[in-house]
Amino acid sequence: MERETILEMKDISKSFGVVKALKEVKLELAKGEVHALMGENGAGKSTLVKVLTGIHRKDSGQVIYDGKEVEYKTPKESQDAGISVVHQELNMMNHLTVAQNIFIGRESVKAKVFTDDRAINAKTIELFKMFNMDVNPREKVGNLTVGKQQMVEIIKAVSMDAKVVIFDEPTASLTEKEIDELFKIIEDLRSKGIAIVYISHRMDEIFKITDKITIMRDGEYIGQVNTNETTKDELINMMVGRVVYEDPKQEAEVDENAEVVLSVKNLRSPHVKDVSFDLRKGEILGFSGLMGAGRTEVARLIFGADPKESGEIYINGEKASISKPQDAVDNGIGYLSEDRKQFGIVTGMSVADNVVQPSLKNYVKNLIIDDKRIHEVSEKYVGDLKVKTSSTRQLLRNLSGGNQQKVVIAKWLEHNSDILIFDEPTRGIDVGAKSEIYSLMNELAKEGKSIIMISSELTEILRMSDRIVVMCEGRKVKELPIEEATQEKILHYATARIGGDTLE
């Protein structure tokens, strides 16, 4: 079939102050094509999308859409022209209903004045039928699971009669089933001649559904390849300029008889059902499972962030009473949240201030904070952990995701935490920085720190863990030694439901 170009972006440049975010980038998109846009975080993918949709204005370059040169000034203009976006962050109005969210800005109106919710509810039900969604259109969006919210957002974008649909990392919070549904939606769009831009870090998805791939690095266009003519290694090479291997760990690197530092017995809460496990000194214990399996909830219970209904926690063989995060911190537990910006760091404070946050009392002399010593100590961590920052006085918001994560690690190390809970340690962190975080975690384990690692990426689980706990619907369904673990096995247990298939 003849390729028919619908959108062409040529020589797009965009600066924010002195920072050049885009340097003469190009993107060419044909009707009925699924086109992946790849690159590390900070490569400029999202900026390119924002230039296209009128959120940012380009400094120079040309956008040709449907045969005409265009420049959109607001998201509404681009949306009206048929370009719709599923944004990376959830963009929902939690207090409005599902239907009200989908039709925001496009309400049905009676008598020219009155909004007609009955009409949009009916339209929503029609849409949901097409996409096999079973959600009440009158439900408040805030009451849905994150995955369902994402599906609502996707259906909203698709429902706009778009000629171009842009998906910015749509699968981050979806379950396997929902991802399958999304891929069906994308296939359906493709067959209707709609062009799709698909931004994702997940290689398997890229190879499964895309036709072409445009690669960006550091705000520059690197190249465009046909998906069926390339390999994962080639793509990673283009993205980072070097090859990163993602091999699974072969065998546990911790002795079976190593002492147990953390023992959790019969932990219960509304979302956690009777979870027990041991963590050994120097071990990396992987927690795998689908979204909503209760992994983060377990971590939050151990850390005292949520109240537990019952269950006991033993640290170094002694029963610990943990009812609030402070108790956990005093017991040497450090928690690295999956949502760094909200729970892990203070973006408006300096590197040094973040590093000493939990141990500030050690740096107070006669009620005065000893700033000099704080910076000396932070300096040491910046060196040890190879944090890329101009100085320890730099505000954390100016650091990349990977470097922010290193500062969180430094913070718990400074507090002498022996048990570290990493919740999605590499979420939103680019490929290069990922492997640095991995080697840092391995070093920590070697030095005798014990690590619980929650991860949704199976490759990450297999690469890092000495032992793997698989959870499903709040229960621990299986404990796998790394020697026996495979992606298929983990998935099998992660999808094992009570009352459904028997487990073994």
Partner: protein, 324 residues
């Protein structure tokens, strides 16, 4: 199946909602005063409760729109007084009364427009922007009236007809019906029109609303204009009730109104709120105001108790937000 669920849910929401608690509280407070004091049970008392509710009620209905966007409007109290006082000066200059009434509402709307532009277009924090216009309105009223009080036409004079909007010749408190009509109108705008939909949407998630292609600046500005217009209407209600307007007053009324809004279940963080709740909240305030002297508690006790009521209401709000 869905309907059944929906119904159950609605029922649960009603029982658990702050609106429902507020209605119960209003009834309980009223019954408490009625039992404690025989004098409280008279129709005269009821009429004075209504009288005390008019201007605060209009202020509160208007500011509900702004609070649902996640903003605040501190200027409504002094804007109410400023527009009334300027209207009074216009009247003394010989303007016909009907035009004076329109002018009062327009001045309120203009202040609202200024607030809206400052907040939506120039991105000033609403607290600061409206604190500024609050002072400006207070000062402007004194400047225009030359620090003199203004007197509106008395009942029975040719231009006294405006008083009949709130109380008929036979003393029937028709104002409660007028307030009710405006409340219904406001509720329709809030729940059944695009204005209301976008006001809720902005309060729930401003950026997401913008990215959905909605002109958020425009709709946010409209919320402040509505608040200003209602401040103007409140100015008319105030003039009709008290006839004489002193310059330099009005500060503090906005807090009474905002307290009423919050007691009625509107969330200060935006996205949640009802006009019905606001009206109930206002009545709780005015029953307290009128009722406390009947049990021999002086006005300073009213402040004390209103403060406690307000804190309890905000506590409910915080607890509810945690749940969502």
């Amino acid at each position: 199946m869905n309907d059944n669920n929906g119904l159950k849910q609605t029922f649960g929401n009603v029982i658990g909602s702050q609106k429902f608690i507020a209605v119960l509280a209003l009834i309980a407070i009223y019954i408490f005063f009625a039992i404690s004091s025989e004098a409280f049970r008279s129709t005269d008392t009821l009429v004075s409760i209504f009288d005390a509710s008019y201007y605060i009620g209009f202020l509160a209905i208007g500011v509900t729109f702004v609070i649902i966007t996640g903003g605040i409007d501190l200027s409504i109290g002094t804007v109410m007084m400023c527009s009334a006082i300027i209207g009074g000066v216009f009247y003394q200059m010989g303007l016909p009364m009907w035009l004076v009434l329109i002018a009062i509402i327009s001045i309120g709307g203009l202040f609202g427009l200024v607030n809206g532009v400052l907040v939506a277009r120039f991105k000033l924090p609403s607290f600061i922007a409206t604190l500024g216009t609050m002072m400006i309105a207070q000062g402007l009223g004194s400047i225009v009236s030359n620090v003199q009080s203004v007197t509106f036409p008395l009942r029975g004079t040719e231009d006294g007809f405006y008083k009949n909007i709130f109380r008929l010749e036979n003393n029937f408190p028709i104002g409660i019906i007028v307030l009710g009509l405006f409340a219904v109108l406001a509720a329709i705008v809030l729940n059944k029109t695009k204005i209301g939909r976008y006001i809720f949407s902005i309060g729930s998630n401003r950026e997401a609303t913008r990215l959905s292609g909605v002109n958020v600046n425009q709709w946010e500005t409209i919320a402040y204009v509505i608040s200003g217009i209602f401040a103007g209407i409140a100015g008319i209600a105030y003039a009709a009730t008290y006839t004489t307007i002193l310059p330099g007053e009005g500060a503090g009324f906005e807090l009474d109104a905002i307290a009423g809004v919050v007691i009625g279940g509107t969330s200060l963080s935006g996205g949640i709120g009802t006009i019905f709740g606001t009206v109930i909240g206002v009545f709780i305030m005015s029953v307290l105001k009128v009722g406390l002297p009947y049990i021999d508690l002086q006005p300073h006790y009213q402040l004390f108790i209103t403060g406690i009521v307000l804190i309890i209401a905000v506590y409910f709000d915080v607890r509810r937000r945690k749940k969502l």
